[in-house]
């Protein structure tokens, strides 16, 4: 999976969780939760979806490290099998 594929997969996950938003318009440094108005419940659903999609395990203490698209791409890129 290259970075672009990861990004597209993430945007799709966000779109599924918040169908009435436009994740594709997120800038790479935007705080995702604030920009898309995602509450803690939806955020948990997002992490569940993300862990499933990329076969990773995201511990709770890492939630703070992945608040933007840029951070997410770095985080997942380092964990996903190339």
């Amino acid at each position: 999976m290259n970075e672009e594929e990861i990004k597209q997969a993430l945007l799709l996950l966000l779109k599924n969780i918040a169908p009435d938003t436009e994740p594709e318009r997120l800038k790479s440094d935007d705080n995702i939760r604030q920009t898309l108005a995602i509450d803690s419940f939806d955020y948990l659903q997002f992490i569940i979806g993300m862990d499933e999609k990329f076969s990773i395990q995201t511990p709770e203490e890492d939630y703070g490290k992945i608040s933007t698209l840029k951070e997410l791409l770095t985080y997942i890129g380092a964990r996903v099998k190339k």
Binding site: A18, S40, F41, L44, I48, E60
Partner: protein, 390 residues
């Protein structure tokens, strides 16, 4: 014989459109079965039955607009079925219905007769209108001097047969109007009083963190389930807030907590967490995972919209500390949770920094007094300090 009527799915609901019958006459139903789908301002709602028995004749047609309280069908109990089968029961229902219709008809005819004399219409138009049950006074005439012609009546017949749809408003507007109606009623009728308490959440959050570390992401709990559990436990200690006000205080035995879900497109919807007092934190989390997505998709059951005995609103993240809530009538209390923020905290003569949660209570002063509220918030505060006991 139990009458099954259009339920009121909130203080603001006047009527709904029947969109589907999920049962047919003669079907056996049990408590909690879904008998119909009704479209309301709050989306397509699955309407449940609260008795068991055999379904009688379906008295309402699909796509009809049905005012709250309208008889929709009968449920025959097991004893009644044994006594004489469903046939005599059917006749009885038919008779009752017939009597009502005749009564309504005769009044209607009188009114129509009185009106028809003053309406200019061609004889053919009048004849057709009588045959098709069209009210001539409501038909706009296109003939000479505004007289109603046969074509006008024919047009009216076509319009009448088209299924009536919800007014051409978006669901977002409808929800806005439903919230507006309920909140106006609340502000008009309920003398609110407000109390608040600050809770040191360090122990609760540490406990939750440790628990979540051992769990896969799917089984992790959110802090809000601890808050819901603490409220449910405190309500057992102070039951006066778990009630409805309907010309007097009606205490409720079961604790059904309405949980405010805000819709991203605007508006809120408040599904009930049924029997919150009997659910563990894990079960509460499971319930939330079920009702929140369904609330957002506007696919709830009737009991989930009608049963709540108290409401929780969790304003959550962001910089807001305190909620000054508006009670959802006929309930008598609403609990508001602000965001958890780090604050200086004095304890035993020492100053420290703690994650602090502000819990507020808006309560109906007709139903309870400040002392009740104080006991309740103190109980919530104490429970949240002992998370392992929740």
């Amino acid at each position: 014989m139990i009458e099954f009527r259009m339920p009121s799915l909130g203080a603001d609901m006047e009527s709904g459109f029947l969109r589907e019958w999920r049962v047919k006459p003669g079907d056996r139903v049990n408590r909690g079965d879904i008998v119909a789908e009704v479209e309301t301002q709050k989306g397509l709602i699955e309407v449940e039955v609260f008795d068991e028995g055999i379904v009688g004749e379906l008295l309402i047609k699909v796509d009809d607009k049905v005012p709250v309280g309208t008889l929709m069908t009968y449920i025959l109990t097991a004893d009644e079925t044994r006594a004489g089968g469903i046939e005599p029961f059917r006749e009885m229902v038919a008779e009752k219905k017939e009597a009502k219709i005749t009564e309504r008809k005769s009044i209607k005819e009188k009114i129509e007769l009185a009106a028809v004399h003053h309406i200019r219409a061609s004889p053919l138009a009048k004849k057709l209108a009588t045959e098709k049950g069209i009210d001539l006074s409501k038909v706009k005439g296109s003939g000479p001097g505004g007289a109603v012609t046969r074509e006008d009546v024919e047009k009216a017949v076509v319009e009448k047969s088209a299924p009536e749809a919800l007014p051409e408003k978006s669901i977002t507007e409808n929800i806005r109007m439903a919230v507006a109606a309920a909140m106006s009623k609340s502000n008009r009728e309920i003398p609110h009083y407000y109390l608040q308490t600050k809770v040191d959440m360090r122990r609760a959050l540490t406990w939750l963190e440790e628990l979540n570390k051992q769990r896969s992401v799917k089984d992790r709990l959110l802090p809000v389930v601890l808050l819901i559990k603490a409220v449910a436990k405190a309500l057992k200690d102070v039951p006066d807030l778990n009630a409805w006000w309907n010309n007097g205080l009606q205490l409720k035995k079961d604790i059904h907590i309405g949980f405010v879900v805000s819709l991203r497109t605007g508006g809120i919807i408040v599904p009930a967490i049924h029997d919150a007092g009997k659910k563990s934190v894990d079960e509460l989390m499971k319930t939330l995972s079920d009702i929140i997505p369904r609330a957002r998709a506007l696919k709830l059951r009737s009991s989930e919209l009608a049963d709540s005995t108290i409401t929780i609103t969790n304003i959550g993240d962001g910089a807001v500390e305190t909620v000054f809530g508006v009670i959802y009538p006929p309930q008598v209390a609403l609990i508001g949770f602000g965001g958890i923020t780090e604050q200086p905290w004095a304890e035993k003569g020492m100053l420290d920094v703690r994650p602090v949660l502000t819990v507020s209570l808006a309560a109906d002063h007709r139903a309870t007094d400040g002392n009740t509220g104080k006991l309740f918030l103190t109980a919530v505060n104490n429970y949240l300090k002992q998370p392992d006991q929740l």
